[in-house]
C-alpha cells in the first residue's frame, strides 16, 4: 500500500471511529438529557460555573460588610442582618465556593489528565452536583427569607445551641453542611478511584501529573476530615430538634466537643482548599517555564506531608480554651512544622522559574502574585502558631487578615491562574491577555489594600464580627482604606467576568495546545470531544506531549459503540481489564431531589428522615436497577473474551 494511500484510508477509518464514539458518548438531547448526563465534562463545568456563582454572591456579601464598616457608627446594616451576612459569607466561601470549585476542576481535568473517558462512578458524580446545588439554593432561600444562619461559619455552641439560637436559622446551616459534605465526599471517592484505577497504560505513580497528585491527596483528606463535620452538625441539629444533650453542659455535654469536632474537619479543610491550588501552580509553572518541575519527588512528598500534618493542627484554633499545656506545645510545634513542606514546594517552584525561561502570561502572573501574598499569610500563620501571640490577637481583625491572605492568596490567586490556563481547553477560545493583566493587578492591589490594614486593626484591638465601632477607637481610616480596596477587588472580578463573557464568543480560537504544555489534557482538541481521546494514549514520560515520540503506541481494542474504558493497575498502570461505564440517567437527579426533600424536611421535623427515606430508596432502586440495554452491552463485553 502506498504511503499516501495508506494514510488516507487511515484518516477515513479515524473519521468513522470518531463518529461512532461521538454517537456513543454524547449526552441525550433536551432538558431531560441535560438533567440526565453523567459526563465528567458537563458535570465538571457545572461545578465550576455554580461555584463561581456562589463566589460572586459571597463577594457581594463581603462588599456589604465593607460598606458597613467603612465608617464608624454606620447605620447601613443592623446587627442582626450583619450577623447573617458574615455567617452566610463565610459559609458560602468555604462550603459553596472553594471546595466545589476545586472539586469541579478535578472532575473536569483529572480524567483528561490521566487519559480516560469519564470519571469513575459517573452517576454518583451527577448526583453529587445536584445535591450541592440544592444545598446552596436552600441556604440562600433561607437567607432571603430572613432565616439565614447567624452564628458564624463555624456555628459555635452554646451560641448556636437551642437556648441562644431559637428559630430555624442554625438548622439551615447544619443541613447545608449535610448537603455539601455529602457531595464533597462522593466526589472525593470518584476522584480517588479515577486516579488509582483509570490511568492510561504506562502512567506509573512517578509519571502522574502534579495536579492529579494534589487532587488525590485532597480527596483522601476529604474522606477522613468531612465525616467529623457531618456528624457534629447532625449532633447540633439533634440537640436543637429532638432534645439530645451533646453540647449541653447541664446534662453532661461539653461545648468544647463541638470545637474539637468542628476543627478536626475545619483545619484540614484549609488544606483541602489549598492543596489543589498547589497542583494548579505546578502545572502553570512547568508550562510557562517550559521545563519539568524541579524536584518532582520532593513535591509529592510535600503534598503528602501536608496532608498528614494538616490533621494535627486543629487545636491551634482553640488556644484560648482550657487545652492542657502539653497539648498547646504539641499543636504549636505541628503548626510550625507544616511550614516546612510548604517551604519545600515554594523553593522547588523558584528553582523551576530560575532555571526556565518564564513567559509572563496571565496564568503565571497570578502564580507570582500567589508567592507574594501566600508567603505573607504563611508568616502571620507562624506568628499565630505561638500561643502567647495567639491569645493576644484571638478573635481580632488580625486573624481575619491572616486567613484571607492564606485563603485568597493560597487558593483564589492560583485559581484565577488556573482558569486563565485552562479556559482554552474548557471553551476552545483564549481569554483576553491584556484584560487578564488588569484583572491581576486590580486584584493584587485591591487585595493588599483590603486585608493588610486588617492586621494593624487587629493589633489595635478591633474585634471580629462586630457590626460597627465608635469613632474614638481610631479605626476609621484603616477601615475606610480596606473598604476602598474591596472596591478594587470587585472591579477586578468584574473585569474577569467581562473577559469570560466576551471571550467565550469572540475570543481568539484556541489550538489543541495553545500554551505548549506537556500533560495529556492538551493532547485532544479544545474543547475536548465527549469521548475525550480518539485513541486512549499510553504514557512513557512525565510530560508526554514534550517527551514522547510520535509513534508512542495507542490503546486499541475497546468497543466504540459501548461506553467502555480501560482499568489499569495501581502502581505501574499496566492494563488489567475493561469496564463499561453506566449510561446517562435521570435517576441520580431524581434521587438528589428526594434527598433534598429529606434534608430540608428534617429542618422542621425528625419524621422527615424515615418518611423521606422512602422516595430516596425508590430513587436509588431506579438508579441501580439494570436495564435490558445494560445487560446486552455487558454481555457483549464479556463475550469478547
Amino acid at each position: 500500500m502506498a504511503g499516501t494511500g495508506g494514510r488516507t484510508i487511515a484518516a477515513l477509518a479515524d473519521d468513522h471511529e470518531r463518529r461512532t464514539l461521538e454517537r456513543t458518548w454524547r449526552p441525550p438531547p433536551g432538558l431531560i438529557g441535560w438533567l440526565s448526563t453523567a459526563h465528567h465534562q458537563s458535570i465538571g463545568k457545572r461545578f465550576i460555573v455554580t461555584a463561581f456563582g456562589f463566589f460572586l454572591l459571597g463577594g457581594i456579601l463581603a462588599l456589604l460588610m465593607r460598606l458597613q464598616l467603612a465608617q464608624p457608627e454606620s447605620q447601613f446594616l443592623g446587627p442582626d442582618l450583619y450577623n447573617q451576612i458574615f455567617t452566610v459569607h463565610g459559609t458560602t466561601m468555604m462550603f459553596l465556593f472553594a471546595v466545589p470549585m476545586m472539586e469541579g476542576l478535578g472532575v473536569y481535568f483529572v480524567p483528561l489528565m490521566v487519559g480516560t473517558r469519564n470519571i469513575a462512578f459517573p452517576r454518583l458524580n451527577a448526583f453529587s452536583y445536584f445535591v450541592y446545588l440544592f444545598g446552596g439554593v436552600m441556604l440562600y432561600v433561607a437567607f432571603l427569607l430572613n432565616v439565614g444562619p447567624d452564628a458564624g461559619w463555624f456555628s459555635y455552641v452554646p451560641l448556636a445551641g437551642p437556648e441562644y439560637s431559637p428559630g430555624k436559622r442554625v438548622d439551615f446551616w447544619a443541613q447545608m453542611i449535610t448537603f455539601t459534605e455529602l457531595s464533597a465526599l462522593a466526589v472525593a471517592v470518584e476522584l480517588i478511584v479515577t486516579v488509582l484505577q483509570l490511568r492510561a497504560p504506562g502512567m506509573a505513580l512517578h509519571r502522574i501529573p502534579l495536579f492529579v497528585w494534589a487532587m488525590l491527596v485532597t480527596s483522601l483528606m476529604i474522606v477522613f476530615a468531612m465525616p467529623a463535620v457531618m456528624l457534629s452538625s447532625t449532633m447540633l441539629i439533634m440537640d436543637r430538634l429532638v432534645g439530645t444533650h451533646f453540647f449541653n453542659p447541664v446534662e453532661g455535654g461539653d461545648p468544647l466537643l463541638w470545637q474539637h469536632l468542628f476543627w478536626f474537619f475545619g483545619h484540614p479543610e484549609v488544606y483541602i482548599i489549598f492543596i489543589p491550588a498547589l497542583g494548579i501552580i505546578s502545572c502553570v509553572v512547568a508550562t510557562f517555564c517550559r521545563r519539568r518541575i524541579f524536584g518532582y519527588t520532593a513535591m509529592i512528598l510535600s503534598l503528602a506531608a501536608t496532608g498528614f500534618i494538616g490533621f494535627g493542627l486543629w487545636v491551634h484554633h482553640m488556644f484560648t480554651t482550657d487545652v492542657p499545656l502539653l497539648g498547646q506545645s504539641f499543636f504549636t510545634a505541628a503548626s510550625m512544622m507544616i511550614a516546612i513542606p510548604s517551604g519545600v514546594q515554594i523553593f522547588c517552584w523558584i528553582a523551576t522559574l530560575w532555571s526556565g525561561r518564564p513567559r509572563l502570561h496571565p496564568p503565571l502572573l497570578f502564580v507570582l502574585g500567589f508567592f507574594f501574598v501566600f508567603v505573607l499569610g504563611g508568616l502571620s500563620g507562624v506568628m499565630l502558631a505561638s500561643v502567647p501571640f495567639d491569645l493576644q490577637v484571638h478573635d481580632t481583625f488580625f486573624v481575619v487578615g491572616h486567613f484571607h491572605y492564606v485563603l485568597i492568596g493560597g487558593a483564589v490567586f492560583p485559581l484565577f491562574g488556573g482558569l486563565y490556563y485552562w479556559f482554552p481547553k474548557l471553551t476552545g477560545r483564549m481569554l483576553h491577555e491584556r484584560a487578564g493583566a488588569w484583572n491581576f493587578w486590580l486584584l493584587f492591589v485591591g487585595f493588599n489594600l483590603t486585608f493588610f490594614p486588617m492586621h494593624q486593626l487587629g493589633l489595635e484591638g478591633m474585634p471580629r464580627r462586630i457590626y460597627t465601632y465608635l469613632p474614638e477607637m481610631g479605626w476609621g481610616d484603616l477601615n475606610l482604606l480596606a473598604s476602598l480596596g474591596s472596591g478594587l477587588i470587585a472591579l477586578s472580578v468584574l473585569v474577569f467576568l467581562g473577559n469570560v463573557l466576551s471571550s467565550r464568543r469572540h475570543g481568539r480560537l484556541a489550538s489543541d495546545n495553545p500554551w505548549q504544555a506537556g500533560t495529556l489534557e492538551w493532547a485532544t482538541s479544545s474543547p475536548p470531544p465527549t469521548y475525550t481521546f480518539l485513541h486512549i494514549p499510553t504514557v512513557s514520560s512525565r510530560e508526554p506531549l514534550w517527551e514522547q515520540s510520535a509513534d508512542q503506541p495507542v490503546v486499541t481494542g475497546l468497543h466504540r459503540d459501548i461506553r467502555e474504558v480501560l482499568v489499569t493497575s495501581l502502581l505501574d498502570a499496566e492494563p488489567v481489564h475493561r469496564i463499561r461505564m453506566p449510561d446517562d440517567s435521570i435517576w441520580p437527579f431524581l434521587t438528589a431531589l428526594a434527598t433534598a426533600g429529606l434534608f430540608v424536611g428534617s429542618v422542621f421535623t425528625p419524621w422527615a428522615v424515615p418518611i423521606g427515606a422512602i422516595p430516596v430508596g425508590i430513587g436509588l432502586l431506579g438508579w441501580l436497577w439494570p436495564r435490558q440495554k445494560d445487560y446486552d452491552e455487558q454481555v457483549t463485553l464479556e463475550g469478547k473474551r
Partner: protein
C-alpha cells in the same frame, strides 16, 4: 488500519474480582468514610465520659442479653456471607441465590433483635449526654444494618431475574465485603455500648 503501533486490550477480561476492580475501591471508599464516622462517634462517647464522675450517670448500664445475642447472630451471619462470596467468585448462580436468601434470614433476625436492643438500653436519647451518645452510636449502626439489609434484598431480587452476567457476581462479592464491614464495626461498638459502662 491505523499505522501507529497499538496496545491491543481486546483480550483483557471485562470484569475482575477484588482489589483490581472499580467496585472494590468504591466499597472501600464508603468503608473508609463510614469507619471514620464510627471512630469519631466512639471518641465523642469517651470524650463526654471525661466530664462526669460516674458512668453511666445515675443510670443502670444497658441490659446485656439482647445485645449479646445479637452480636452472636451478627458473627454467625459471616458464615453464609463468606459462602455467598465464594459462590460469587466461582459464579455459581444457584449457590449465590441460596446464600443470599440465608443472609436475608440472618438480616431479619438481627433487625428484630436490634428492635429489642433499643428497648433495653435503660436510657433515652434525651435523658443526658450519655444517653445521647449511646443512642447516636446504636442508631448509626442500626442505620447500617437497615441499609445493608435493603441493599441485599434488592441484590437478591436482581439475582432472580434473567439479567445475570459476570459483573453481577462482582456486585455480589462486593456486597459481601460491605456486610463484613457492618458486622466487623459492630464489635468495637458493642464493646463501647455494653462493656464500657461496666468497666469505666
Amino acid at each position: 488500519m491505523n499505522t501507529r503501533p497499538a496496545l491491543d486490550v481486546s483480550q483483557l477480561p471485562a470484569y475482575v474480582f477484588g482489589p483490581r476492580g472499580l467496585m472494590w475501591w468504591g466499597t472501600m471508599g464508603i468503608v473508609a468514610i463510614e469507619g471514620t464516622m464510627f471512630v469519631i462517634l466512639m471518641t465523642a462517647y469517651f470524650y463526654v465520659r471525661l466530664y462526669v464522675p460516674e458512668w453511666p450517670p445515675n443510670l443502670p448500664p444497658p441490659d446485656l442479653f439482647y445485645g449479646t445475642v445479637n452480636t452472636l447472630v451478627l458473627l454467625m451471619s459471616a458464615v453464609p456471607n463468606q459462602w455467598v462470596k465464594r459462590a460469587a467468585t466461582r459464579q455459581d448462580l444457584h449457590a449465590v441465590r441460596l446464600g443470599l436468601l440465608t443472609c436475608l434470614a440472618f438480616a431479619a433476625a438481627f433487625l428484630v433483635l436490634r428492635a429489642y436492643e433499643l428497648t433495653a438500653l435503660n436510657c433515652s436519647w434525651d435523658t443526658n449526654t450519655y444517653g445521647s451518645a449511646v443512642w447516636m452510636l446504636l442508631g448509626f449502626h442500626t442505620f447500617h444494618l437497615v441499609t445493608d439489609a435493603l441493599d441485599t434484598v434488592a441484590l437478591t431480587a436482581l439475582m432472580f431475574t434473567r439479567r445475570i452476567e459476570g459483573q453481577r457476581f462482582v456486585d455480589v462479592s462486593e456486597n459481601a465485603d460491605y456486610w463484613y464491614f457492618v458486622v466487623g464495626v459492630w464489635m468495637p461498638v458493642y464493646g463501647v455500648i455494653y462493656l464500657a459502662p461496666r468497666l469505666l
